[in-house]
């Protein structure tokens, strides 16, 4: 493995996770495992229409059903709550339709919540939903992007003249000149289908509102404890000290659990009205309409280049197919697509717009990758198409356009990339491909008449999201800093309190490794506490944007530095030596070169809390440091993915035979966890590239609401995967840590599209739509065959 360094301490060690034993034993506690005394269970009635006026809602029969405690409608919500907050306002003058947890007059997508019920259990709650009568007047539907953009399109919001939510353009240099002077111009329209994160545990919440103290206790299956507390405060017009959010074990997030939703507001209101805790679990069928959708974009792009393959300009438009209302993430992911459209390349002239368009579909929100897989599909397709057109080696074209390591910090269109060795990363990937004999496998397969291709995708990944001032500057109405508290107790054990939220990504272990290394204690002595707004320090945003290791870890490193000074002072006093002479290793504070003269961390802890008389004069008791991590700028990870695929020319079916990624996420804290993150991301994007699509009919009805229709990859769909690590330290993060949460996800669809083209190179097929379903690909193959004959 590349740059495999032998870890001398916990950082870099391939150790198994501390989280696991209880998960393995079935002793985890996920949201739905929590049952409070007197708890009610809720269910939500959802619109069967893509677009309709609500004429009348009659809930009287539902209220009378034995076992039903509350039925709440939009009119009642409006009296008790404020509109749902939208924190992503990065498009200047973006249209912001005011929407409450429940609508009163109109529904704009199938599955939009209309009425909620709380009853003794979910069975009765669902019985009650069947007793609710709603009279709708169906309205004309804008089911697709084109329908929504049409001259005479039905409008989703009467107050605006069209369905556009907003538009923003990123420019650099002189793009018109670049295109006039270009030797070659490529033009493509690429479509990325609607997909979603689909954690195996669906979203859920429990709200318990004590009407005497006004205290609202929330348990949320979420990626952001503090941000959700603040947004809940906004939605309920409630001071946040009256709200406590706890996050139990989370069964996967993938961005879907980052956004603020409506069900937690409804559970809170119904708890307030009934005086009972209320749980609402989104069931799987609901999840396909109520959970954030993502990805769907049409990207019309042009690339200008010289005849020797130097890219001189990109221009185009990202059409974002938004839903019937705005999620908290609004048009954020498509905006990021447009912002990073130049990818890892030096593109001097850029003119890329993002246009958000409301349609009668579920709202768009966060999903792992967050606009970057879509952008990568564009720039990595265009680079290979350019090479094809010019008859150049595709990776030579890539190499030619990379910034050199000494050009970092490298200012791209919108963001500045902190550090990188792109060409080296490409080489590492290519040497992996060579070592694994893919070329030979391809040649052998072709000799048998099989269509096997190799494809590449080089990506950049925005990580350590994010520096508050950067966030605010791009229009995010929230901070992004991280925060950790490191405490040594009276027995010398260490507890880390972090604002980051675990969701299966292994941060308890990773942060314990960082802390153990930074303090010089055994990892077994470190406990990480997370997911509670009362005990954990405030953190901006939520745990998304590949940030937990970088911002959570960075804060720990700094807090540990300060703590070590105190430990040394106490140790020096106890050992009657100077602090500078001490080393802290493996939980002992020892005189350098004389290990026999040492005290244990337990003795230090005892002095700090109990035998305070042993402290040096002037030293305050207790041992605890708090550190806010609000870096100056983001950290940009990157990687080069290669895939080997086989296409069945008769059926259009594609099988991924092998996968490899060379990547750089800065300091690798635990290679096993990093690889796990990559594998999971690859699976989601192989699903995205070949299987997964949220399909709407012409009538605006969603047709994929079960695991039988929305196809996520299973073990037989996955190739073996390999990750080669490089470590170029992040510039703005202590410890040099970048993020890795999205590394596996971003480039795979582009790489697969490139590989499919390669497998069919004799036909000159160009894949332009994701997912690449068998009928879609077969149609392309047939068309190419006809053209040839």
């Amino acid at each position: 493995m590349a740059e495999q360094r032998t870890a001398s301490g916990p950082i870099g060690a391939r150790i198994r996770r501390t989280e696991d034993p209880r998960l393995l034993a079935g002793q985890a506690r996920y949201l739905d495992d929590i049952r409070l005394p007197g708890m009610l269970e809720g269910a939500v009635l959802r619109s069967p229409y893509p677009h309709a006026r609500i004429l009348r809602i009659d809930v009287s029969r539902a209220r009378e059903l034995p076992g039903v405690f509350d039925v709440i409608t939009g009119a009642e919500v409006r009296e008790l709550a404020a509109p749902q907050p939208v924190i992503w306002q990065q498009i200047p003058d973006q249209r912001m339709p005011e929407s409450y947890a429940l609508p009163t007059d109109r529904v704009r997508y199938v599955g939009e919540a209309v009425v909620a019920v709380a009853a003794v259990d979910r069975y009765v709650a669902e019985d009650a939903l069947e007793l609710i009568d709603i009279e709708y007047e169906p309205l004309p539907v804008a089911a697709t992007l084109d329908e929504a953009l049409a001259e005479d399109a039905p409008r989703l919001y009467d107050q605006w003249p069209d369905n556009k939510m907003g538009q923003h353009t990123f420019t650099r240099g002189n793009v018109d000149e670049a295109f006039t002077q270009a030797d070659v111009v490529l033009r493509e329209t690429l479509y990325y289908g609607r997909q979603m994160g689909l954690p195996l545990e669906t979203r859920g919440c429990i709200a318990s509102w004590d009407t005497y103290t006004n205290q609202l206790d929330l348990w949320l299956s979420t990626q952001g404890a503090h941000v959700n507390r603040d947004l809940m405060g906004e939605a309920l017009r409630k001071p946040v000290h009256e709200i406590r959010v706890r996050v139990p074990d989370v069964g996967g997030g993938f961005g879907n659990k980052l956004d603020f939703y409506i069900e937690e507001v409804l559970a809170s209101l119904m708890s307030r009205r009934t005086g009972r805790p209320v749980k609402i679990i989104e069931d799987r069928v609901e999840s396909f309409v109520a959970n954030a959708h993502s990805r769907e974009q049409r990207m019309e792009v042009e690339l200008a280049a010289t005849s020797d393959g130097v890219i001189t300009g990109i221009r185009g438009t990202v059409w974002a197919v938004l839903g019937g209302r705005l999620s908290g993430a609004a048009c954020g992911p498509p905006w990021l697509s447009a912002a990073v459209m130049a990818g890892p390349y030096k593109v001097p002239n850029v003119d890329v717009s993002v246009v958000g368009v409301f349609t009668n579909r579920s709202p768009i929100g966060s999903y792992r990758g967050w606009g970057q897989p879509e952008a990568t599909l564009v720039y990595e397709r265009l680079v290979e198409l350019l090479a094809r057109k010019l008859g150049l080696d595709r990776n030579e074209v890539r190499r030619k356009n990379f910034p050199a390591p000494e050009e970092f910090p490298f200012p791209s269109t919108v963001f500045t990339y902190d550090s990188g060795r792109y060409a080296e990363c490409l080489d590492l990937c290519l040497s992996g491909v060579e070592k694994n004999g893919w070329k030979e496998r391809q040649a052998a397969a072709r000799a048998e008449g099989r269509s096997v291709g190799i494809g590449y995708g080089f990506h950049v990944e925005c990580t350590a999201f994010g520096p508050s001032r950067v966030l605010n500057a791009v229009g995010v109405q929230h901070s992004g800093f991280g925060q950790s508290v490191v405490r040594i107790d009276s027995t010398g054990r260490v507890t880390v309190y972090t604002g980051e939220v675990p969701m299966g990504q292994g941060i308890q272990t990773a942060l314990a490794q960082v802390c153990a290394q930074s303090l010089g204690v055994p990892i077994e002595d470190v406990t990480v506490i997370a997911g509670d707004t009362d005990s954990c320090p405030y953190m901006g945003y939520g745990t998304g944007g590949s940030r937990a290791a970088a911002l959570g870890g960075g804060a720990i490193i700094r807090a540990a530095e300060k703590l070590k000074k105190q430990i040394r002072d106490i140790g020096a006093h106890l050992l009657e030596t100077a602090p500078e002479d001490l080393v802290i290793e493996n939980g002992r504070v020892a005189v350098s070169g004389a290990p026999a003269r040492s005290v244990s961390m337990a003795e230090i802890g005892n002095a700090a809390y109990r035998s305070v008389g042993k402290l040096p004069a002037g030293q305050t008791p207790t041992l605890e440091e708090r550190e806010v991590m609000d870096p100056e700028d983001l950290a940009w990870a990157y990687g080069c993915t290669a895939v080997l695929v086989e296409v069945d020319r008769e059926t259009g079916a594609v099988k991924v035979l092998d996968h490899l990624i060379a990547h750089d996420c800065g300091t690798v804290i635990n290679p096993m966890i990093v690889e796990g993150q990559i594998h999971g991301g690859v699976a989601q994007s192989i699903g995205g590239a070949l299987l997964e699509e949220l399909v709407y009919g012409e009538d605006g009805q969603i047709q994929t609401t079960t695991f039988m229709d929305y196809l996520v990859p299973t073990a037989t769909d996955m190739p073996p995967m390999q990750a080669l690590h490089m470590e170029t330290p992040a510039v703005h993060i202590p410890g040099g840590i970048k993020g890795v949460g999205e590394a596996g996800t971003i480039a795979v669809p582009a790489a697969i599209a490139n590989a499919v083209d390669d497998a069919l190179d004799d036909l000159d097929v160009t894949v332009t739509a994701i997912p690449i379903t068998p009928p879609r690909l077969l149609a392309k193959i047939r068309a190419a065959q006809e053209q040839q004959s």
Partner: protein, 292 residues
């Protein structure tokens, strides 16, 4: 996703089950076998029977028996048992192979062959393979048992010859003659999914190398499983050559009649019927020791 209220009756005998089925007024009692299709439908409230007649206690419906030229399988036999049975592999290897495509191991542990057939999903393997094998299905009702040929059993999407007061009790499969080669070709989006298109082929080859019998059934292409009779006719009496196989494959595409759905447009299914028929016939021929 929680079932609506329902009564539950655990059947003590076939007669008892039929009794309950025929005594509900709205004729909406439902047999509960493996539950792999029915319970999800209950949870989604797509099925709302007033009473469930659980036949899982009827161990006398759980058997695989060879009686001379017939293989008899009780309706409650688990799909996994059919898949793994040596008697089935011996008498009707096409059925063994087909059952391996039904969902996943855990689904087959519990799901029954009778349930699969009675459920009549047009993309399911068991109905189509039984059509290919000219199986007979024994239906028991208040008036006793009657037998319906598999090719007359499936009336439409999720509808069969089984009346509301009846149940499927046995599946009878004629043993395939010696010299028969079999193959299943299935195109599914993922391993274990219902078929987009599946072809079940059995060809019997005489001593002279000519095809004496051919059975081809398709799943996923029509509202019910279908036999590709014209394609079979192309093969019977001729040698299994690349040409006849191609001709048969062409003919097989002609029987398809599907609507567009999220996984494929109709014409794709038609084309795949032809591609898979060709592949299935080639493999079946080679299984019968014919070199194409």
């Amino acid at each position: 996703m929680k079932p609506a209220s329902v009564e539950y009756h655990k059947a003590t005998s076939i007669a008892d089950a039929v009794d309950v089925l025929s005594s509900t007024e709205d004729e909406d009692a439902k047999v509960l076998a493996g539950g792999q299709s029915l319970v999800p439908m209950l949870s989604m409230r797509l099925a709302r029977p007033s009473v469930l007649v659980d036949i899982n206690g009827l161990t006398d419906l759980d058997y695989i028996r060879r009686d001379g030229d017939w293989l008899s399988i009780g309706a409650l036999t688990r799909s996994r048992a059919v898949e793994k049975s040596a008697a089935v592999r011996d008498a009707a290897p096409l059925l063994s192979e087909a059952m391996g495509f039904v969902g996943h191991a855990t689904i087959r542990n519990r799901g029954t062959i009778g349930g699969s057939v009675a459920h009549a999903d047009p993309a399911a393997e068991a109905p189509a393979v039984l059509c290919a094998l000219d199986a007979e299905l024994v239906i028991t009702g208040p008036a006793g048992a009657r037998t319906v040929g598999a090719n007359d059993f499936f009336h439409g999407f999720l509808t069969t010859a089984v009346g509301p007061d009846e149940m499927l009790t046995e599946i009878r499969v004629p043993v395939l003659p010696a010299g028969t080669g079999c193959a299943v070709e299935e195109l599914a989006r993922r391993h274990g999914d219902f078929a987009m298109v599946a072809v079940f082929a059995a060809v019997t080859v005489g001593d002279d190398g000519r095809c004496t019998d051919a059975r081809l059934a398709l799943a996923g292409t029509n509202p019910t499983p279908v036999r590709a009779r014209e394609a079979e006719a192309v093969l019977v009496g001729s040698g299994l050559t690349a040409e006849t196989i191609a001709q048969a494959a062409q003919a097989a595409a002609g029987v398809t009649n599907s609507a567009n759905d999220i996984h494929a447009p109709a014409e794709y299914r038609r084309d795949m019927a032809s591609v898979l028929t060709r592949r299935a016939l080639r493999r079946a021929a080679s299984d019968a020791n014919v070199v194409v």
